[in-house]
């Protein structure tokens, strides 16, 4: 029972982190209709900046620089690449983001090399115990930070003029433009916000119990893709639900690995993708995604 609770809590905490990544991904998709395959590399960029600078600047300042750095990288990708595309086919733009991803990941993994970089967080490997249930401090911090950021984001999305502009642009770009919404700024800010969220997620993907930032971190970040798509690519609620589902299922599958040994070693890493396939079989648009109505 204690194991189950521990696994569920751990899963929720990881799920909240995946939800952060998926949220950024969904925001870009809503604002610009581009599926951003370079998202994992934005995350890696933010994590790398934080990990490299924390010795000189102290953790909090380094984290701030990392977040800002990832936001700048995201905005730069939008400004220098996405905006230059003059066609109208969004699946071609998705392929462009693959090209960007190849560039960024190659550069970052070359810099990281075989090293494992510590994010330099203040929590270390300390563990908090409530009764029989124990949980790493980093996991609690992840849960709180993710919950805070997601709430702040959703409030901003709902009530600020920036959020209104973004929702209007997602609803109908032409009308929004006629109403005075500057579409270029909307998509630029979407990319920047997504980068910033990814940088926070990068921190929590590299703290204890994981060894630190390494080449394989971008693989861990990829799990936000199934999270986003099983929730529904155009739904922020879906990103949250998808993130939590992926986190919990991964945690359970890893925790009960010995009972699942007939499925082979390392089933925990595979579980998110299997869940995605099952969900897509039943609901091709994802759990909360809208089946797009089309005017012919």
């Amino acid at each position: 029972m204690t194991t189950l609770i521990e696994l569920l809590l751990g899963g929720l905490s990881m799920g909240a982190v995946y939800a952060l990544i998926a949220l950024g991904f969904v925001v870009i998709f809503k604002a610009t209709e581009v599926v951003n395959f370079a998202h994992a590399s934005l995350l890696l960029a933010g994590g790398y900046v934080t990990a490299v600078l924390h010795d000189d600047l102290g953790f909090w300042f380094a984290l701030a620089v990392g977040i800002a750095g990832a936001a700048v990288v995201g905005a730069a990708v939008e400004f220098f690449v996405m905006r230059r595309y003059r066609g109208s086919d969004h699946s071609v733009l998705a392929i462009v983001t693959i090209g960007v991803d190849i560039l960024l990941v190659t550069e970052l993994t070359r810099r990281i090399g075989t090293r494992v970089l510590s994010p330099g967080d203040p929590w270390g490997d300390k563990v908090v115990t409530f009764g029989a249930v124990s949980m790493a401090q980093t996991r609690i911090a992840a849960l709180l930070a993710a919950a805070l950021l997601i709430t702040a984001f959703l409030l901003a999305f709902r009530y600020t003029s920036w959020g209104v502009a973004m929702r209007a642009a997602a609803e109908n770009p032409q009308t929004a433009a006629l109403m005075g919404v500057r579409l270029g700024r909307v998509s630029l800010s979407a990319w920047a916000v997504a980068g910033a969220l990814a940088a926070v997620a990068a921190l929590f993907l590299t703290v204890f119990p994981t060894p630190g930032l390494e080449r394989a971190t971008s693989l861990a970040a990829l799990k936000a893709f199934p999270a986003a798509i099983l929730g529904g690519l155009d739904s922020t609620t879906g990103a949250l639900a998808g993130g939590l589902i992926v986190g919990v299922i991964e945690s359970l599958a890893t925790g009960y690995q010995s009972d699942l040994s007939f499925l082979g070693r390392g089933i925990g890493d595979l579980a998110p993708y299997l869940v995605m396939v099952v969900v897509l079989l039943i609901r091709p648009a994802g759990l909360f995604g809208t089946k797009e109505p089309a005017r012919v």
């Binding site: 599926v35 699946s91 960007v100 798509i229 890493d269 079989l281 012919v296």
Partner: protein, 389 residues
């Protein structure tokens, strides 16, 4: 993508004239293009007599990649369905061939399953099994569109890696398994030497002709698909799914069938790669391989067979070129020395990553749209431009 279609008509008529052979037969003989193709074909046939093993293998990789890229281009370029999971189907093809063609052996303490079938049956079955694997994914491949399918097919990569590492009595696990040589018409494509015209032919030289034949078949088959009724339906789905449905194209069935066809192409490429490598390792069939195929078709040109071949040659020969000439290039260092420079593999990844971005932004249609100006002017003066308005 749609603007490439509008630009096709001015170029298409001479090719069709030449094919049907009615008024154009003598005209075709006079175009420099025909001679260029003939010279190119002779060059390809003669290469094994002159190149060393390194370049032959590089060429073989390029040809295998070209087959897979043609298949992916049918799916992504012509139908608009993104797949990031094609490495999985290459793995299915490669390992199916190994399992079917090998005799049961014990390697590193594992007993590896093998059926010991004749090579050509194993090849056909391996391609078929890849198609079945693609068909099993069709409930998803038929319903999802574009980039959604791209993310869904990510699952295939991870499922594939998981199975390859865990089903060790089939795949040999982490260490992989060795590939039994193909024998066809009494010729065995292994490293036993055969003298042809004074040149010792080993596996690379012999496989060269098999690969060339396979590539030619695959290219013409795909061209037939693209130019015929299915090709038009596929392009219609890509350009406007609903309009295509209204015109009577069964959208879901077409998407699923193209996915199957494309996974069979990938399976065939996997068999060829396995034969060239002579050993299959699971790590190779990861995400980077899938991304390379996408890079190939984008760089070469989406939706055309020629684009896929050009892109495959570009992406797969680039690292070999950089490796061979790493000493004489600035910034690039030989692999393994770690002397602060960029390893050839990384350097080529920078180049094709940048090429993907640059091609989409500045050269829609890819490298296959590049024309030599003099050839173009000769052709356009000779044939009236019917299609262009």
């Amino acid at each position: 993508m749609s603007d490439t279609d509008q630009r096709t008509p001015p170029v298409a008529p001479p090719a069709e004239e030449a094919k049907s052979g009615r008024p154009g037969r003598s005209a075709a003989l006079r175009t420099p293009r025909t001679y260029a193709w003939a010279a190119f074909a002779i060059l390809l046939l003669a290469l094994p007599f002159y190149l060393d093993r390194f370049w032959l293998q590089a060429g073989l990789f390029a040809m295998a990649a070209a087959i897979a890229a043609i298949g992916l281009n049918l799916l992504t370029g012509a139908t608009g369905q993104l797949s990031m999971g094609h490495a999985f189907f290459l793995a299915v093809g490669a390992y199916s061939y190994c399992v079917l063609a090998a005799d049961p052996v014990t390697e590193n303490g594992h007993t590896l399953t093998g059926f010991g079938l004749p090579g050509w049956i194993a090849v056909v079955l391996a391609v078929g099994i890849s198609g079945i694997a693609g068909g099993l994914f069709s409930p998803i491949a038929g319903r999802l569109r574009g980039a959604y399918l791209g993310i869904a097919t990510l699952a295939l990569i991870f499922i594939g890696q998981h199975v390859l590492f865990n089903a060790s009595n089939l795949t040999g696990g982490f260490n992989g398994r060795s590939v039994p040589p193909l024998s066809l018409f009494g010729i065995t494509f292994d490293d036993s030497q055969t003298l042809v015209g004074g040149i010792p032919f080993e596996s690379a030289e012999k496989l060269w002709y098999v690969a060339l034949a396979a590539l030619l078949f695959c290219a013409f088959f795909a061209r037939g698909v693209l130019r015929g009724r299915p090709g038009r339906a596929m392009n219609a789905i890509r350009d406007h799914r609903i309009a295509a449905g209204v015109m009577g194209v069964p959208v879901a069935r077409y998407r699923a069938s193209v996915f199957v066809l494309s996974s069979m192409y990938a399976g065939g490429a996997g068999v060829l790669l396995a034969l060239v490598f002579q050993r299959t390792v699971p790590e190779y069939f990861g995400m980077i391989l899938s991304l390379e195929f996408l890079a190939m078709i984008v760089i070469g040109g989406l939706g055309s067979v020629r684009g896929a071949v050009i892109g495959a040659a570009f992406v797969s020969l680039l690292p070999q070129l950089l490796t061979r000439y790493s000493e004489s290039l600035p910034l690039v260092t030989a692999p393994g020395t770690g002397a602060g420079g960029i390893a050839p593999g990384e350097a080529s990844r920078y180049l094709y990553g940048a090429a993907v971005v640059a091609v989409v932004l500045f050269l829609p249609g890819g490298l296959s749209r590049l024309r030599f100006p003099n050839l173009r002017s000769i052709r356009s003066t000779r044939t009236p431009r019917k299609g262009s308005k």
